[in-house]
Symmetry: C2
Subunit: 320 residues, 2 copies
Amino acid sequence: MKNLKHSNAVRDGRKMEQQEFKSLLRQKTSEIDALIEQYLPEENGYQKTVLEAMNYSLLAGGKRLRPMLMHETFRMLGGSGRAIEPFMAAIEMIHTYSLVHDDLPAMDNDEYRRGRETTWKVYGDAMGILAGDGLLNYAFETALAAFDFAEETGTEEMKRIAGALKLLANKAGVYGMIGGQTADIEAEERRTPLSTKQLLFIHEHKTAALIQASMMVGAVLAGAGKDELAAIEKCAYNIGIAFQIQDDILDVTGDSAELGKQVGSDAQNNKQTYVTINGLEKSGADVERLSKEALRILADFEGEHDFLEELVINLIHRRR
Amino acid sequence: MKNLKHSNAVRDGRKMEQQEFKSLLRQKTSEIDALIEQYLPEENGYQKTVLEAMNYSLLAGGKRLRPMLMHETFRMLGGSGRAIEPFMAAIEMIHTYSLVHDDLPAMDNDEYRRGRETTWKVYGDAMGILAGDGLLNYAFETALAAFDFAEETGTEEMKRIAGALKLLANKAGVYGMIGGQTADIEAEERRTPLSTKQLLFIHEHKTAALIQASMMVGAVLAGAGKDELAAIEKCAYNIGIAFQIQDDILDVTGDSAELGKQVGSDAQNNKQTYVTINGLEKSGADVERLSKEALRILADFEGEHDFLEELVINLIHRRR
């Protein structure tokens, strides 16, 4: 790995052994898997096919990164209660719908994802559109169930849930993820040179916005104040952008077998990335700078966040 | 019109002159148009195209029936305050997104709607998908703004808004409109004979669910009790099904010039409709029965609803 030097710099002073981290990661991932399964729609009725297609997509073996970031932020800020649970399922549904629609023939036209056929490839084009719509709508239905947990706890908890819903909707929509997707599609269609500003807009909205939603929803539900929320937003921005730049780096330097996908596909598609615009060295240095800043922000929080810190380091400096 | 006899039966004892109704209808429609314009997203930023496509679809000259039913139900039940306003805009956004996605090449492949090119035809296939996603997501962003009006009014109003959001999401989703759309697409693809039960499932979910959402959200925000809400749900079901059967009748008996679209298109497409399954006479009688029952339910409400009653009659017995 070409940015190993940078990785090592960040790895100084870490509080958790890799083995302990890996074991916790497995445990937490399977807890989230079980949680999501509770919120899956049942597959029956005349609309059975769209429900099957939704569940097929949700169970495609994602890393559950967004619900995990949400829950860890909630924990760090001392959150308690179950209102977080439907939101954890909801953010994964929104992430999943975005992949289902991204893969459609009219969009990226991808037939495989994580080694399985994509949703439209299995269920057809029309059902791919409807499954995505169904997941987005069901994400809100699911998140709204958080109000059921607030019945006894009163107005303050209702206000937090309302705030979390607004954040989720905003970061997923045209001023968030859908906005980034639009700019990305247009950039590809136009094939004119992208400025760093445009590319950062795309990364900020297409990738970082949902990371922000995850961590900020966790924070709001834990009762974070305005300053804490702003710090979390900035931290999540850094994580999201660093994550995406690392993705671009791996497309050049990564190992196909380890990545589980072909490297060099960006170059092959003449896709402009952070690396093609800024070069490998600056890209690596930027990942380093962004992740250090994210970790510095986390360090200011008093609540326990050893796992969250390790998760961020692993995420940004991943090799696949 | 072949079902004129039935229409006249319903028209007995009406409280509002047609001229007064038409004038009120114009006034109320333009008030709703103005309201929706307030909630349109501004068209700027790197995601400008999707915002343009969303507004193009929202301003395609709809009848604004759903926000109107919502507001009239709210009025009938003595509702007050402004929390209803974002919901009125939101239901129109949901209705509009469903048309945008319905028209896509992978779905109905329609190039024209209400005499204008459809959204995908103007902005391309990918942007048609994103504009629909954007509208659905923005509907929830918009409806969530209702909480801003509840700040002073407290917990009771927040609970009503939470209830209205749940209803909206449920009736729009896989157990509502998207469910109906799924069953409809599959019925067309399979081309096996439909049972009346299947067809009613499609009409109930694809058409009636959003009428139910409209009237029930109005009722919940006005503080309707459980029994009142159940009555409104039944009333809206009847209106929705009668509306859809009338649509099928008009495809056989209507006047192309008046309808603004070709008649006989269902027969041409070998589409199974309520009329092809049950015949014209029974279909007309069912519209009559359903609309009488809807009006009987409305009559039990003490609040002023002369306009709402006339709206329902005009809607069900429309000739276009």
